[in-house]
């Protein structure tokens, strides 16, 4: 299970990365994250929405009300131009952290 702080820090880049693949809605985002992390990232479902609304407020994503195949109301989120830029920045920063960690690990075994 991932640490709470790490889950919190990675929420924004993960949501942006998921939405970069196409529009989605809250429930699907949660399920996708759980499946991809092999249930190692446990989000409190409802807590996703404040994060989504914050991203919307920051102008990184936009929302629209639509309908599912079964006719159920759904709020779909998609990435805006600034969202793509923010995602690129996140990827750069996470790659840096990962590279530094990998470098230090390598040195350990030299």
């Amino acid at each position: 299970m991932l640490k709470r702080e790490l889950v919190a820090a990675s929420a924004e880049p993960l949501i942006l990365a998921l939405l970069a693949r196409g529009e989605s809605y809250g429930y699907a985002i949660i399920q996708d994250i759980k499946a991809r992390s092999d249930n190692q990232m446990q989000w409190t479902d409802g807590m996703l929405y404040p994060v989504l609304h914050r991203l919307e407020h920051k102008g990184l994503i936009k929302a629209r009300w639509g309908e599912s195949e079964t006719g159920r109301k759904r709020k779909y989120y998609s990435l805006k131009k600034d969202g793509h830029k923010a995602l690129a920045k996140h990827e750069e920063q996470w790659s840096l952290v990962s590279a530094v960690l990998a470098g230090l690990r390598k040195e350990k075994y030299v």
């Binding site: 919190a8 409190t44 479902d45 807590m47 929405y49 404040p50």
Partner: protein, 230 residues
């Protein structure tokens, strides 16, 4: 017998009671709740158990509300809040000033209050004036305090400008309502007093509008990050 729609309605009421707004985000949370419940039921749980599990997964109302509160208000909403606070503050000042004038104008000597202690004095006499005046003053002060509290997120300068504009506006209205006030302020000609107060009001209102606009559109300070875990 478990009634699903009643259980969802109770859940909605609980969310609303903590301050979660409808339709957004409550509708969205309810849709999530229903979808999660259906998934739980497909895996074999009873309707009641599925509802309990789904509600637990969505999270506690207070914690959700605290997270939603961290999202800054939209500029239009902020301007509306400022407008409401100004109106409430203005009414507060008017009531306070009116109460003060009423108290100043009243003869509170023992002879008038104690000397003619009667039901008539209690209802319309100086004692009634004293009670009503003090009561109005406390109520007006409370309104001003409420208005100030609702503008917690405003900058210090905006608050000062807002306060000044409300006082000036209150004074100009009082000049209309109580002609004696101009004399108290050593302004012999009431129309000149009105002009002077008018200029103060115009300048301060422009100031507060400008400050409020700058305040609304500047990026908000990043408070503690919104986290999807509690």
């Amino acid at each position: 017998m478990f009634n699903l729609e009643q259980a969802i309605e109770d859940w909605r009421q609980k969310m609303l009671a903590t301050g979660i707004e409808t339709p957004v985000p409550l509708e969205e949370l309810e849709l999530h709740l229903r979808e999660e419940m259906e998934r739980q039921m497909r895996s074999g749980l009873s309707e009641e158990k599925a509802f309990e599990m789904a509600a637990k997964r969505v999270g506690e109302a207070q914690i959700l509300e605290a997270e939603f509160k961290k999202i800054p208000a939209k500029p239009q909403k902020k301007l509306f809040q400022i407008f409401c606070a100004m109106s409430v503050g203005l009414v507060g000042w008017l009531i306070c000033l009116h109460a003060l004038v009423q108290l100043i104008d009243t003869d509170f000597s023992f002879a008038t209050i104690g000397g003619s202690f009667s039901l008539e004095n209690l209802l319309v006499g100086p004692l009634a004036n004293l009670i009503m005046g003090l009561g109005s003053f406390v109520f007006g002060a409370w309104l001003i305090w409420r208005a100030g509290r609702s503008l917690k997120s405003m900058t210090f300068i905006a608050k000062i400008v807002l306060g000044a504009s409300v006082i000036a506006f209150g004074l100009i209205l009082m000049t209309f309502l109580v002609p004696n006030l101009a004399k108290i302020a050593h302004l012999a000609n009431p129309s000149r007093a009105i002009l002077l107060f008018g200029v103060i009001v115009a300048v301060t209102f422009l100031g507060v509008l400008l400050t409020a606009l700058i305040n609304c559109f500047k990026p908000s300070k990043d408070r503690s990050p919104t986290s999807p875990v509690n």
